[in-house]
């Protein structure tokens, strides 16, 4: 047993559907690892549910492939792809592409929202400063004794 046997899974010259036990174990462990990692993230509330669902699906797909490696060959034949590992790569690249595009879109949206929030904050800040400025003035003004501002205790000792 050496690296060559491990590579056998990717060798088209080997019999279709043949996977060495070592590769089988390796892929299965990886799939279990991915699933465990995602579940952990979800449980710690580090992932929104929509994303956890997405990645759990990926993990499940990986696990299924690990258990039934022949599935890849079947799918490849269905798609008319001669070389099964290419199917895996194609699906992976396509999937990742969609995910990245989706994230770009979501980032743009979040950024715009942060912008609007910051702009609104600037306006609100100015408005509160303005009202805070006028209130103490009413305090000391000639009509100060009638103002309801009297019972607002200011932390600022200056008038």
């Amino acid at each position: 047993m050496n690296a060559a046997t491990l590579l056998a899974v990717a060798d088209p010259s080997t019999e279709v559907g043949s996977v060495t036990p070592r590769a089988h174990l390796f892929v299965a462990l990886a799939a279990v690892g991915v699933l465990a990692f995602i579940v952990r993230l979800v449980r710690r509330h580090g992932l929104r549910t929509k994303y956890s669902l997405l990645w759990i699906t990926v993990g499940a797909a990986l696990a299924t492939l690990a258990v039934f490696p022949d599935l890849l060959t079947v799918v490849s034949e269905l798609l008319g792809i001669y070389y099964p590992p290419a199917t895996l790569l194609l699906l992976a690249v396509g999937f990742l592409f969609l995910v990245v595009v989706h994230f770009s879109w979501e980032m743009s949206r979040s950024e715009e929202r942060v912008r609007v929030l910051a702009e609104e904050l600037a306006l609100l800040r100015e408005r509160t400063e303005r009202t805070n400025d006028t209130e103490p003035a009413a305090h000391t003004g000639p009509a100060g004794h009638t103002e309801p501002a009297v019972h607002t205790e200011s932390a600022d000792p200056t008038e």
């Binding site: 912008r115 910051a118 702009e119 609104e120 600037a122 306006l123 800040r125 100015e126």
Partner: protein
């Protein structure tokens, strides 16, 4: 409802030049309201602006870029009920003395652009690369709107209430938004006029971007322009009071 006019000054690290700009404004236009939008400056811009009498300061919590700073100013103008507003640079390039001319031009337009080029404007020095890039943008805008703007990137502009309301929500946040906005306003059916104005050389501070960054921004704006057109059908063109009639004048006869 506010009978006064508002001057919106977006400022990012402009504490050096801002005091003189504000002093000039007060001297030339004593009655006008001024709002400085401090775009997350790391220097004393906000303090310097607040020290100037009659100036309102809006402080953004972090640097958002000129587009967002302006949009904040537009929001303020709309919220406070201003009917007209002028955008002015904090670096002293724009002469406050030209503000009344921009506001006057609002009588026949919704958006007025103070142009650095054209009759009545002082010769404004720009580098070859920059001029070339400006030409490309001009051409792109001409293709997309059918109009010619002599100064597509001027940040010396006046807006009436309808434009303020529109921009308070839609003003693009990215750099060089000034070009994009012309297209946006044209499509929205706003009447745009150009008024030649005098401009000063920069009194201080550094130009907003380095050359490489500039190239990227020009490219980005070009892409944005063309993407935008595919998004919306152009509205009928507004009547422009500043149209040059040269083209009609030298119409060649049919038989030579």
């Amino acid at each position: 409802m506010n009978a006064k006019d508002l001057v919106i000054i977006p400022a990012f690290n402009e504490s050096e030049t801002l005091p003189s700009v504000l002093a000039d404004l007060r001297r030339v236009l004593p009655g006008i309201d001024v709002v400085v939008v401090d775009d997350g400056s790391s220097d004393d811009t906000a303090r310097v602006a607040a020290a100037s009498p009659g100036v309102t300061v809006l402080r953004l919590p972090f640097n958002l870029g000129i587009g967002s700073a302006l949009r904040t100013g537009f929001r303020y103008a709309v919220a406070e009920g201003y009917q007209r507003a002028v955008q002015l640079d904090a670096d002293g390039q724009h002469d406050p003395g030209e503000v009344p001319r921009l506001l006057e031009a609002l009588d026949g337009a919704d958006l007025v652009v103070g142009s650095r080029f054209g009759r009545g404007a002082t010769t404004y020095e720009v580098g070859h690369t920059r001029r070339g890039a400006m030409r490309v943008l001009q051409l792109a805008l001409h293709l997309l709107t059918g109009r010619r703007f002599s100064d597509t990137s001027s940040g010396f502009r006046a807006f009436d209430r309808s434009v303020l309301e529109y921009f308070a929500v839609t003003y693009p946040s990215e750099y060089m938004e000034s070009v994009e906005v012309l297209l946006q306003a044209t499509y929205e059916g706003f009447r745009i006029a150009e008024v030649p104005v005098r401009m000063n050389p920069r009194a201080g501070g550094r130009p907003s971007t380095l050359r490489l960054g500039l190239a990227y921004h020009y490219l980005r704006v070009l892409v944005t322009l063309f993407v935008r057109t595919s998004r919306r059908r152009p509205a009928p063109l507004a009547i422009d009071h500043d149209v040059e009639r040269d083209a009609a004048g030298d119409d060649p006869g049919t038989g030579t």
